[in-house]
């Protein structure tokens, strides 16, 4: 049978393009980042209301993504939400103990994420510590309710 080099090359390129495409879907479209495990550390934060925060949401500091939300569960001691954050390892031992965490919204209807603001305490947060000072998500219904009750009382 006659063998054609261009055909073999074509099939090879086709396969390669398929694998590169899959890589593109992984990295660019689903935002997977290949971080070495152990390069991160965990913090916990309790929120009175997390709104529609989801696992894998971003954790930012001054707008820069520094980590992700790994788990959200109900804390049955206080009946609030315990959010587990995974932050870049280089921040370990850098965040002051009175760092605050707030749930913010990207745009009016965008996804919700956590914003960290550094405090001034000389002591720092270590792996597994809990952020004390948190600010809950903005829930539209509550805002409207407050607005309406203010209108009525005026």
């Amino acid at each position: 049978m006659k063998r054609s080099k261009t055909m073999e090359l074509g099939v090879g390129l086709f396969m390669l393009a398929g694998i590169l495409g899959l890589l593109f879907l992984g990295m660019r479209v689903s935002g997977m980042a290949f971080t070495v495990p152990g390069d991160t550390f965990r913090l916990e934060a309790n929120f009175a209301n997390i709104g529609s925060l989801k696992p894998r949401a971003r954790v930012t500091m001054a707008g820069v993504t520094v980590g992700r939300v790994t788990a959200i569960e109900l804390d049955t001691d206080w009946y609030d939400a315990r959010v587990v954050l995974e932050l870049d390892g280089e921040l370990e031992g850098q965040l002051a103990r009175d760092t605050t965490a707030a749930i913010l919204t990207a745009g009016l209807l965008g996804e919700q994420y956590i914003g960290l603001t550094v405090g001034g305490d000389p002591e720092t947060l270590a792996d597994g510590d809990t952020i004390r000072d948190t600010q809950s998500a903005m829930v539209l219904e509550e805002l409207i309710q407050q607005f309406v009750s203010n209108m009525v009382s005026d």
Binding site: F14, L25, S30, G31
Partner: protein, 260 residues
């Protein structure tokens, strides 16, 4: 009346028999372990059903992504939610449109050709001659085509998604002026690699199996006349399209319907 019931029963038996033959056929030809020459036969088929289908699949993907972005934008802008365009385009492509449309195009472009080719081999008694000289036509003719289809369609589906998402980017960001950061950012926040990309790939592997199987079986099982070939080619496209769309509903219900 009785005659109708009898013919209905006969028809049912025929369908069951054909299904049985098709299953046996798949089992016999899929086990063909490729030798060195078999590997080359497979390569040729990947070139035919995959590389040569690339143009139609990629162009369709580009246009479908562009249309999705255009339609999605006019819909979302009323709610002030045009930032969610990226996630809408990516999710609808990855979960539904890429596997289904790529499989339909594949059935029309490659499936019909497979049926006609194998059918003509049968009509001109090439398959019988192969058996005469001791070559198993299932291994020599059918197995490479079957395996080529399994490999080519998932890769084409990936290409379709990539080009479609890029088409959505062209229309949404470059033309309509959605902020680039929110196009990719919302997409990355909502698309899950295993849940969306992975399930889309599972779908496309299933469709590849079904479409290629129908195409080669229709070619192998047809009445060896010119009319039979044309009928079988039509049946390939009709059956594979129906099977793809029907299976898509079942798979979507299983994957995203929340029955797990």
């Amino acid at each position: 009346m009785i005659g109708r019931i009898v013919s209905l029963g006969r028809r049912g038996c025929e369908v069951l028999e054909a299904l049985g033959r098709a299953g046996q056929f798949l089992a016999q030809s899929a086990v063909g372990v490729p030798s060195r020459e078999g590997w080359y036969l497979w390569l040729r088929q990947v070139h035919f059903v995959g590389v040569l289908s690339l143009a139609i699949v990629l162009v369709s993907g580009l246009f479908i992504g562009m249309v999705l972005a255009l339609q999605g934008y006019t819909l979302l802008v009323d709610f002030g939610a045009e930032q969610a365009l990226g996630q809408m385009v990516a999710l609808s492509l990855l979960r539904e449109l890429s596997p289904v449309v790529a499989a339909l195009l594949f059935a029309g472009r490659a499936g019909s050709a497979l049926t006609a080719e194998i059918g003509l081999m049968k009509a001109t008694e090439q398959l019988t001659s192969m058996e005469m000289i001791g070559v198993d036509p299932l291994r020599r003719v059918v197995a490479p085509r079957l395996w080529a289809g399994f490999v080519a369609l998932p890769l084409l589906t990936v290409g379709f998604s990539v080009v479609g998402i890029y088409g959505g980017y062209l229309v949404g960001v470059e033309w309509l002026g959605v902020f680039e950061g929110s196009y990719w950012g919302n997409m990355q926040a909502s698309v899950d690699f295993v849940g969306d990309v992975g399930n889309g790939m599972v779908k496309s592997v299933v469709f590849a199996l079904v479409v290629t199987w129908i195409a080669v079986f229709q070619g192998y099982d047809l009445v060896p006349t010119s009319e039979g070939i044309s009928r079988a080619t039509t049946r390939t496209v009709v059956y594979s399209s129906l099977a793809v769309l029907g299976l898509d509903f079942v798979l979507t219900a299983l994957m995203f319907g929340g029955f797990s």
